[in-house]
Amino acid sequence: LAGGILSAGAAEIAPDEVVFKDDIEVMDSLTGQPGDPANGREVFADRKLGNCLACHANSDMSELPFHGDVGPVIDGVASRYEPSQLRAIVVNSKNVFGPETIMPSFYRLENGARPMEEFQGKTILSAQQVEDVVAYLTTLSD
């Protein structure tokens, strides 16, 4: 966010200002606010938002059809990762898993070539949606 000292309420971290620790952790909330797990659950399932269910099966969503299996089953993910690691994965999966991963990076700007006009210069999820989905993931422990 160019050249401004922001008031606490608006302290949203811009995509290119997210600080990674050892490539695998993002310690601070992107919004300075805690995420809302109920909304994060929506983000996980919604095809126009995270569409995480396209690749990750999730027992907590057994009411929904068509869970994908391109990625690992998400059950118990909070027992495998710290919240800071989950945030890092969602923000920029490539930092964590390497450049070959198929998983999109949900909060970075330099994605693939030829983005459609309506998505140019935009992240897939907003900072708050990232926090919400991370908050939701932290509820999925074994």
């Binding site: 198929i102 070539a113 030829r114 983005p115």
Partner: protein
């Protein structure tokens, strides 16, 4: 012990038999292929969708074949000719043609797809208007021409003047595009056999085109499918008939070298 999810979702073992004749839906992988074995998209569809393709009377793509046969004999343009005037019976004149597309054209100085060849005949030889890429007429004609190669193994030239185009197509195949940042290879090479939401990922082969897609409620061209896949990852697609899509078609065709032509195939 439980089977892994991926194994359970691999291509099935069903056989495609049309009118008592088996059409091979897998093939040995050509040299240099990233695959252990090649599979037609048919092997990844549900048995209900597979059955539609196994019976020409059930196959909804055959309505277009009827139209194609009419067009084949229709005189059009300033030269007073139909396709039949020069090529005779379609089953003889067009046998094997689909299996080797796209082909190098000396006159055009670039590879030509089936659509390109048909339009060259229309404009330069018949004095008629070109058909639009995705028009009912073009789809009917490419379906009719494709059917004359059904069961024949595909094979395209990739050397000589084609090489540069092949390289360009390969480049596009592995380039990540769109806001979702995926290349063709992420889905169709690294993850075929897996489920992406409701879709069972295939190798993205083009041996069945034009395909009748239940979702489209009609036939669609190879370039329409490429466009759709690019849009799904929020990328600005190339235009149908563009040099980029011609190069990509050539490259994808080479990845399916040896698979049988299935036109008109049925997909969901």
């Amino acid at each position: 012990l439980a089977l892994s999810g991926a194994a359970a979702a691999d291509p099935d073992d069903n056989k495609l038999i049309i009118d008592g004749e088996e059409i091979a839906t897998d093939a040995a992988a050509p040299e240099g292929s990233p695959f252990d074995r090649l599979y037609s998209g048919w092997r990844f569809r549900t048995s209900e969708t597979q059955d539609l393709q196994a019976d020409d009377f059930e196959n909804p793509g055959f309505a277009a074949i009827t139209l194609g046969e009419e067009l084949w004999d229709t005189v059009e343009g300033s030269e007073g000719k139909s396709c039949a005037s020069c090529h005779g019976d379609v089953s003889e004149g067009m046998k094997g043609v689909r299996a080797n597309m796209p082909k190098w054209s000396e006159a055009a100085g670039k590879p030509q797809t089936l659509e390109n060849h048909i339009n060259t005949c229309r404009t330069d030889r018949m004095g008629a208007d070109a058909w639009k890429w995705e028009s009912e007429e073009m789809l009917a004609m490419t379906a009719l021409v494709g059917l004359q190669s059904r069961g024949m193994p595909t094979s395209v030239q990739t050397d000589g003047p084609m090489q540069e185009w092949w390289e360009k197509g390969k480049d596009l195949y592995y380039t990540r595009v769109g806001q979702l940042d995926m290349a063709c290879a992420n889905c169709h090479e690294a993850n075929f056999g897996k489920m992406i939401r409701a879709d069972h990922l295939s190798q993205g082969q083009i041996n069945g085109f034009p395909v009748y897609r239940l979702k489209w409620g009609g036939l669609g061209s190879i370039h329409r499918r490429f466009k759709g896949c690019m849009e799904n990852v929020r990328a600005e697609p190339f235009k149908r008939g563009s040099d980029e899509f011609i190069a990509l078609e050539l490259y994808v065709a080479s990845r399916g070298e040896g698979l049988s032509v299935e036109t008109p195939s049925v997909r969901n």
